[in-house]
């Protein structure tokens, strides 16, 4: 398939998914299936423990760092305006490295290139805090995956991975989250796996964590060797998952059991 045809096919595929989304919202966020008392924690910022990370992120946003002695705010001013909608379109294509990157990687690239600072380590409190603060600015907006043909191949690989059986339990993401979503696993309802609220506070973690922490958790759950944080396979999976969740509202900072 040549580039042009691929582009058209991708656009049609994306268009079809988006059309379906608007037809009738039948998809459920993890929020919809959790208990009212856990929902209450997410509903109210004064009770939501993830807001502690958001507040940290706000402080980091305004803190000058690196050799350039710049803060995020030096270039982007107030995040409330400048970051509105940004989290909704990640992962996105990064032209310099010619590959898709997620929001965390975007933040770390900014740090490296413009602040000339040491990037935050994977799953560090700082990275989760600033990502939470940035992503919260898109709260309430629909997930809007970019219609970018350069992402098509990665998206397709992400979809293949989603449907690929892995691990000693020989289960794919789709086995649980497409084919058995809404049913019970133990006492828990199997969610549809829409990444609408990351980074989020999981009561089980007693902390805020990233989508990739959850994905690693799922992989070890089916007895597969989890990819490392930032692995390209995860970015591709994120690309597919955001397409699958296109149009759903961003809830960050979310709370889950």
């Amino acid at each position: 398939m040549n580039g042009y045809v691929k582009n058209v096919v991708a656009t049609i595929a994306l268009g079809t998914i988006l059309l379906n989304v608007h037809a009738a919202e039948k998809r459920k966020s993890g929020y919809d299936i959790m208990s009212p008392s856990t929902q209450a924690l997410q509903n109210d910022d004064s009770q939501n423990p993830a807001m502690l990370w958001v507040k940290d992120g706000e402080a980091l946003w305004n803190r000058a760092a690196g050799e350039a002695k710049k803060s995020c705010a030096t270039c982007h001013s107030g995040a409330v305006k400048s970051m509105r909608g940004v989290a909704a379109r990640y992962p996105a294509f990064e032209p310099k490295s010619k590959r898709p990157i997620n929001l965390q990687q975007r933040i770390n690239l900014c740090q490296k290139n413009y602040q000339r600072a040491e990037p935050f380590s994977a799953e560090s409190s700082e990275l989760l805090s600033i990502e939470s603060y940035v992503a919260m600015q898109s709260r309430g907006l629909p997930i809007a995956p970019p219609r970018d043909a350069r992402l098509t191949a990665s998206r397709e690989r992400g979809q293949q991975f989603f449907q690929q059986r892995i691990g000693q339990l020989d289960l794919s993401c789709a086995d649980c989250h497409d084919n058995h979503a809404g049913k019970k696993l133990g006492s828990a309802t199997i969610p549809e796996a829409h990444p609408t609220a990351y980074p989020l506070y999981r009561l089980e973690w007693q902390s805020v964590g990233s989508l990739q922490r959850r994905l690693r958790n799922c992989m070890s759950g089916v007895r597969a060797e989890p990819y490392t944080f930032g692995a390209q396979e995860f970015i591709e999976l994120e690309l597919y998952m955001t397409l699958r969740a296109a149009g759903m509202r961003i809830e960050t900072p979310g709370v889950r059991p």
Binding site: M34, S35, P36, S37, T38, A40, L41, Q47, P49, S121, A122, E123, S124, S125, L128, L185, G186, S187, A188, L203, E204, W205, Q206, S207, R213, R216, N217, C218, S220, G221, R223, P226, F229, P257
Partner: protein
């Protein structure tokens, strides 16, 4: 924050596979030093505890025991002459009976406390209030705690 490391022990594999039934196995077994009744008697210094005036709000079915929202309120005018001086919450089956013990001034205006508690298992919980005249009132609830199947050890 330390990055999470995935290490599997044979027992964890077993536990995860059998789900809820196995969950308790990885938790250390504690011999509870006192019963719920004994803890309440100690709090009331042996005085009579009457059921009433206290309202203990908590979900009856809990999907995760790590953070369970509770609210305890006590029917009291909170005046200098007539007020609640203390509210405490005890449990039946956690490793330790005490959960939280609070003291209130009449300046609070309302005798109400909200927090989030950890629950190891399904059990009875008692909220107890001490009035400024030395009387004690309580409310006991029973909760069912279920746990997520996909747990990260």
């Amino acid at each position: 924050m330390k990055m999470y490391e995935y290490r599997f022990r044979r027992r964890q594999l077993l536990v995860s596979s059998v789900g809820l039934i196995g969950y308790a196995i990885v938790r250390p077994v504690f011999s509870a030093p006192v019963t719920l009744d004994a803890a309440l008697a100690e709090f009331s210094r042996g005085g009579k505890v009457t059921t009433g005036k206290v309202k203990f709000e908590i979900a009856e079915l809990i999907d995760n025991g790590n953070a369970v929202p509770i609210t305890v309120s006590v029917d009291s005018p909170m005046t200098e002459a007539n007020h609640v001086v203390a509210i405490a919450v005890f449990n039946e089956k956690n490793p330790q009976r005490e959960m939280i013990k609070t003291k209130l001034s009449p300046l609070a205006g309302r005798a109400q406390l909200s927090t989030r508690i950890r629950l190891a298992t399904s059990q009875k919980l008692t909220a107890i209030a001490e009035m400024n005249d030395g009387s004690f009132f309580s409310h006991t609830v029973e909760v069912v705690v279920t746990l997520a199947a996909c747990i990260e050890e």
